[in-house]
């Protein structure tokens, strides 16, 4: 059986889920027997090619997140929302009951300690934030969800080995966590 091609990325996340992936420790070597990585912080490949599996950490908080998520959806047969932020928006989504207008004004213009005349950054290089943060399933079709903040290394290992073996992933007690 040829190796599955896997891409990973972090959108509005903290890379904690990627750190947790590394927490599978020496099982990484077993994993590399089964998969090869495409776009991922692990490979530093910048754009995703056709893949079997896409692993998304983080929610969607800005325009760039949308582009990356769409690139993954277009190229990955299976897309997995990994971690609390991808699943329900997580910590960044706790701004959702506030108006973006008020947030930007407070952070860049009216909070104490800002330089006189501070402005909201408007460099075209910077992605614009969305009015609200969204879990990824509110923007593209998502096939599987692996919750946790972060999901533990054991949970990730169980989930991935299930998927790779062609089983519908299931996490029993102790592996399924939202915290």
């Amino acid at each position: 059986m040829s190796k599955l091609r896997v891409a990973t990325t972090s959108l509005a996340g903290c890379f904690g889920c990627h750190m947790s992936l590394l927490d599978i420790d020496e099982r990484l070597l077993d994993l590399l027997e089964l998969v090869e990585f495409d776009r991922s912080p692990i490979t530093d490949i910048k754009h995703c090619g056709p893949c079997d599996l896409g692993i998304i950490e983080g929610g969607v908080c800005n325009a760039e997140n949308v582009h990356v998520l769409r690139e993954f959806r277009k190229n990955c047969k299976i897309l997995v929302a990994t971690g609390a932020c991808a699943v329900n928006g997580g910590l960044p989504a706790q701004r959702n009951h506030l108006e973006l207008h008020d947030i930007l004004t407070a952070v860049y213009q009216t909070e104490g300690g800002l330089a006189h005349g501070a402005q909201i950054p408007n460099d075209p290089e910077l992605p614009l934030p969305l009015n609200q943060v969204h879990p990824i399933h509110e923007v593209v079709k998502v096939d599987y969800f692996l919750p946790g903040c972060p999901p533990s290394g054991d949970a990730i290992w169980k989930f991935l080995t299930d998927l790779i073996a062609g089983r519908t992933p299931s996490l029993g007690h102790g592996l399924l966590h939202y915290d």
Partner: protein, 235 residues
């Protein structure tokens, strides 16, 4: 107890005392029927609908339907657990349930029940409502972001504490909420006490005692140690 006072729960014979609901009889027999708004100390409320079972082929709330001889009750079937998962998803998107930053995580009945049902995602689009936090009381804070409208605090305050600090009011998803018994609407202006029964009844993370947070670390809490089905069946 007469020989006839027996019904079937997922094919197993369960004895009941006349007047017991299906839920009460199951609890006495150490069988778990999922529930959120039901609590053995209080009257059945019948609102969360997690305890929906099939009684002789018809849906019913096991917390309100009385046990009767010969009933065939389906409980943990794929069909019913699937409906329960959907109900849980509705509750998760209705409020703001961010477990990683919640003091109740691991001790939360909503979360534990969602684990039990294998809920991997809230599935629906989130409403992200704007709900208040009330820290006006010296000993207790309220975070209504997590309220699932189970009414247990209402019953505990009315029946156990004789106070009526909490009342369920308003209408519909956007209106229904806990109303506090003070003109200001603040907990600090009520006669609520940290020693009230209502202070420790909340199944989720709304009513939190101050200065005792995280005494037990994540990972070592009630439902970290055993799934809710096992915890409930052991009661």
């Amino acid at each position: 107890m007469s020989e006839q006072n027996i019904f079937l729960l997922d094919g197993e014979e369960i004895a009941f005392a006349p007047g017991q609901t299906i839920m009460q009889a199951a609890q006495s027999a150490h069988k778990y029927i999922p529930h959120l708004c039901w609590h053995p100390e209080f009257k059945p409320h019948g609102s969360c609908k997690l305890c929906t079972v099939k009684i002789n082929g018809r849906f019913g709330s096991s917390c309100t339907v009385e046990a009767a001889a010969g009933q065939n009750v389906e409980n943990r079937t794929a069909e019913l657990d699937d409906k329960r998962r959907t109900l849980l998803q509705l509750l998760f998107v209705e409020g703001n349930h961010f477990c990683p930053s919640c003091e109740k995580s691991g001790d939360c009945l909503l979360q534990a029940t969602a684990y039990e049902m294998g809920m991997m995602t809230p599935h629906f689009d989130h409403f992200y409502p704007d709900r208040p936090v009330d820290a006006s009381h010296p000993d207790v804070m309220l975070d209504f972001n997590r309220c699932i409208l189970c009414s247990l605090c209402v019953q505990a305050s009315e029946l156990a504490d004789k106070k009526n600090v909490f009342v369920m009011g308003g209408r519909g998803m956007r209106g229904r909420k806990i109303i506090l018994n003070s003109e200001s609407g603040k907990l600090g202006d009520t006669d609520f006490s940290v020693d009230d029964r209502a202070a420790s009844i909340c199944p989720v993370g709304v009513i939190l005692k101050k200065r005792v947070g995280f005494v037990v670390p994540y990972g070592e809490r009630t439902y970290d140690k055993a799934p809710v089905s096992a915890v409930e069946a052991a009661k």
